[in-house]
């Protein structure tokens, strides 16, 4: 998939960013992603299951994540998703973009002598 967002625009939405970030530590299944996303976002991003699986399908179709393995727990199937190299690059680039954007503000408000210091 080719991403052609204008320069400086976010390439991923906030829920997608946290889904990708939740997979940085290793493969997770649907419920695991929801829990991890909730904790990483400090309870801000509470993904409904219908939204989560739509996002996972979209990210898998875009080559950003892939199914790592499948398990059956209590007779129910469970897929574990992991980041691809492309997904890792995208979430890293997005983190750097936000860090750079944040530094524009934090470098000023934390400067000695500024109104906020």
């Amino acid at each position: 998939m080719v991403f052609r967002m204008p320069k400086g625009s976010p390439a991923v939405s906030e829920p997608t960013y946290f889904i990708l970030a939740s997979l940085l530590d290793g493969p997770l299944h649907g419920h695991g992603i929801i829990k991890r996303t909730l904790s990483l976002s400090e309870e801000r991003v509470r993904l409904p299951v219908g939204t989560l699986y739509g996002a996972l399908d979209r990210l898998a179709a875009g080559g950003l994540i892939t199914v790592d393995r499948e398990e059956t727990v209590d007779g129910r199937p469970r897929r574990y998703f992991r980041l691809t190299e492309q997904g890792t690059n995208l979430v890293s680039a997005e983190a750097l973009r936000m860090q750079q954007a944040a530094s524009v503000v934090t470098s000023r408000i934390l400067r000695p002598g500024s109104a906020f210091s």
Partner: protein
């Protein structure tokens, strides 16, 4: 694949009821998707539900309904774009043509029946069979609009059946000449020809499309309906038209695919022909109706491009 045992989901005694209700909501997803991932989604839903819950939350229900619709439109993009777009556009125009004939069904039962058959064949993807049927109906409609006794003897003008009579005494294609109806039929025949020479055969469409016929029929989609002021028939027609166009714009945005906008554009051509043929006869409400259709069709056309450029993943 690994098989493991895990602690049961904390869903309390109502877990069975909740699962049944979740499964009902999952029916919005395509059948093959449900077969492949339904159990996994149900499992995650039960794991995330609060203990004792027996009714799905409004938030989760909405997410499942929109997720189902979204998965359906995404699945549709597996089909070839242009064949799918032409098929959908031809189906929409054919349904409008059938809806035009329905209020006159007892006066022209053969032609209404053949029009329904044409819709059925288009809907099932049997375009080669639909082609001669549509050509036959087009010839008869041409005869009606020109006042000629071609194919069979029809007493003109053809008035509405009592069930559909709105007191205006509207005659079949009495609101204009042959140009608009023939534009619509020529478009359908051209579309069917394109589909007939291209493999593979278009897919079967949902039976839900039939629901549009009675909603459009009351309003006489072959003429200008809005000059007579607002009413239930005009409201039903505008609800169907605008609802489908909004859906086309949404599907284009979600999938970044132009097929729905193309189909909407095909549907717009005969509508514009009605307005062109009745130039000067339409009122402000007619123009507002046309403007709304053009605006939403344009929105549907822009949506995929805009989503590619501006909507993050």
């Amino acid at each position: 694949m690994t098989v493991t045992m895990d602690a049961p989901a904390a869903t309390g005694a109502g877990g069975g009821v909740l699962e049944r209700r979740y499964r009902r909501l999952l029916r919005g997803y395509p059948r093959d998707y449900r077969t492949e991932h339904g159990d996994e989604i149900i499992s995650t839903l039960l794991e995330t539900a609060e203990p004792g819950r027996t009714v799905p939350s409004a938030r989760e229900s909405l997410a499942l309904l929109s997720g189902g619709l979204r998965t359906r439109v995404v699945s549709a993009t597996r089909r070839p774009v242009w064949i799918d777009a032409v098929h959908l556009g031809v189906l929409a125009v054919s349904l409008t043509q059938l809806a035009t004939l329905v209020p006159y069904a007892t006066s022209v039962p053969l032609w209404t029946g053949l029009s329904a058959l044409a819709v059925l064949l288009v809907m099932c993807g049997r375009v080669r069979l639909a082609l001669p049927v549509t050509a036959l109906i087009a010839t008869k409609i041409g005869a009606v609009t020109l006042g000629r006794p071609w194919l069979d003897a029809t007493l003109l003008p053809v008035y509405r059946d009592p069930l559909w009579d709105d007191g205006r005494g509207a005659a079949l294609y009495g609101g204009g000449g042959p140009v608009a109806p023939m534009t619509g039929y020529a478009l359908v025949i051209l579309g069917l020809l394109v589909l007939a020479v291209r493999a593979p055969r278009p897919p079967a469409r949902s039976w839900l499309w039939w629901a549009a016929v009675p909603a459009l029929a009351a309003a006489d989609p072959a003429g200008l309906d809005f000059s007579h002021g607002p009413g239930a028939p005009a409201a039903a027609r505008i609800t169907v038209e605008l609802g489908l166009l909004c859906l086309a714009a949404w599907a284009g945005r979600v999938t970044r695919d132009p097929r729905w906008a193309t189909a909407a554009g095909i549907h717009l051509v005969p509508v514009c022909a009605v307005y062109a043929e009745n130039l000067g006869a339409h009122g402000v409400q007619d123009l507002a109706h046309l403007a709304a259709l053009i605006l939403l069709t344009a929105l549907a056309a822009v949506a995929p491009h805009h989503a590619r450029r501006h909507t993050p993943l």
